[in-house]
Subunit: 247 residues, 2 copies
């Protein structure tokens, strides 16, 4: 059977999702513990290959197995073996042709910025600190320009392997929660480093380097050099992964 | 001059506030780095000697120094030397007879409970996980009984050295923030483990072991055995420390 798992993790101690030689990754941990639990060689396929230091509340991993353990019980058994910075939030059987990267989806990423004179220690692992005041209303204005279907070539690291750089952003919401500014970006898919470059661009607007309307020119330029910096990984979390069709 | 600092820390890696032989503590880190920075032997006095694993956003540390560095600049200089799980949020000069434990104060502690089928990895260091559903309305009803001036002997670890177990609780607020339940307890002072025992008692109400009205009997019993368990340290944070008089 094919099993779909919702995977949450604290990315602090990992070199990202994807298997690497001599480096601890989420994929490697899942393969190792599933292989041991189920007594057969297991190789998961992930929906999003998050970078080193990026966190997740709802990444998706899929694998095939001959086990007789019911799919819904795998989460419980696996969580007893996994380190406490990785948890399986859900496991269930799906159709044999289900593939997490060939589905219509709405992914939400959350980026957290912690504002203040000094960083808050208990927020340091899950946010990016800035002492600079941010004009959140101008950031919202800039964010609205990015909503919709656009060619996001300016918001994509140049080493992308994507066939097309056109993507749809459904919404960008900026929530203020005390010192934290949470930026939630919802879209049908994201290019390499796209969320971190979008947030870097909104950050430049927030500190007054760009006017909001300048984001129009950045989009039109189709040039990574025109956009803001790629924000650090620790502030980023793959928040949720919704599929438009049942599975 | 006497200097008052607001100290924030992630308590995960520390054996609490207070100096101990052969153990890493917040007080030891502050003494070590202040002594090195100011070139004289410094010993801080803390407002709250938080336990191992407890966090703080606003603990207070006070010390005397002959330095010519302006008191307001000490936070900046010290933060460059401290490990990133401790930060000085503010430093200023106070009167020579200022003592952080002889002041009229309003302290707020926050206890976080993370609810769900499985724990969220990125919340694990700063909350206590439970898979049990909690009746938050009943917990609020029970909390209201504790507000006011009472003898909190039932809510105090038996190895206390306090002269009196009478304290005033100004307010207890339960905030739901997605899977997190944040319980903020504001009072003029707290006995040893008092907040963790209050939360343990509210937890017993939340899971239906006690009716809210039973908290009246627990208060009247003046007996630690009658109250709920002491909740684990990681969920607790010393949130803020307000003084009623200027300094």
């Amino acid at each position: 059977m094919r099993v779909r798992m919702v995977v949450a993790y604290d990315g602090t101690a990992y070199h990202g999702w994807q298997l690497q030689n001599n480096a601890n990754t989420i994929e490697a941990e899942l393969n190792k513990h599933l292989t041991k639990l189920l007594g057969e060689e297991i190789r998961v396929i992930g929906a999003s290959r998050t970078d080193a230091g990026v966190h997740a509340l709802g990444n998706i991993a899929v694998f095939d197995t001959n086990t007789r353990i019911p799919a819904e019980k795998i989460s419980y058994a696996l969580n007893r073996a996994l380190p406490d910075d990785i948890r399986i939030m859900d496991s269930r059987q799906v159709a044999d042709d289900y593939h997490p990267r060939h589905r219509k989806t709405r992914k939400i990423y959350e980026y957290r910025i912690c504002r203040g004179e000094f960083p808050i220690p208990t927020e340091r692992l899950y946010s990016h600190f800035t002492y600079r005041p941010l004009d959140v209303e101008k950031m919202r204005e800039a964010a609205r320009i990015l909503i919709g279907e656009h060619d996001f070539k300016s918001f994509c690291s140049i080493d992308t392997q994507a066939e097309t750089t056109v993507r749809t952003i459904y919404d960008i919401v900026l929530l203020e929660d005390g010192p934290l500014l949470k930026i939630r970006v919802c879209g049908n898919g994201f290019l390499y480093n796209m969320v971190r470059i979008i947030v870097g661009t909104l950050f430049e607007v927030g500190i007054g380097h760009y006017e909001p309307a300048h984001v129009d020119e950045i989009l039109a330029a189709l040039d990574r050099q025109k956009a803001g910096p790629t924000m650090p990984a620790a502030g980023l979390m793959l928040y949720s992964y919704e599929e438009e069709e049942p599975f």
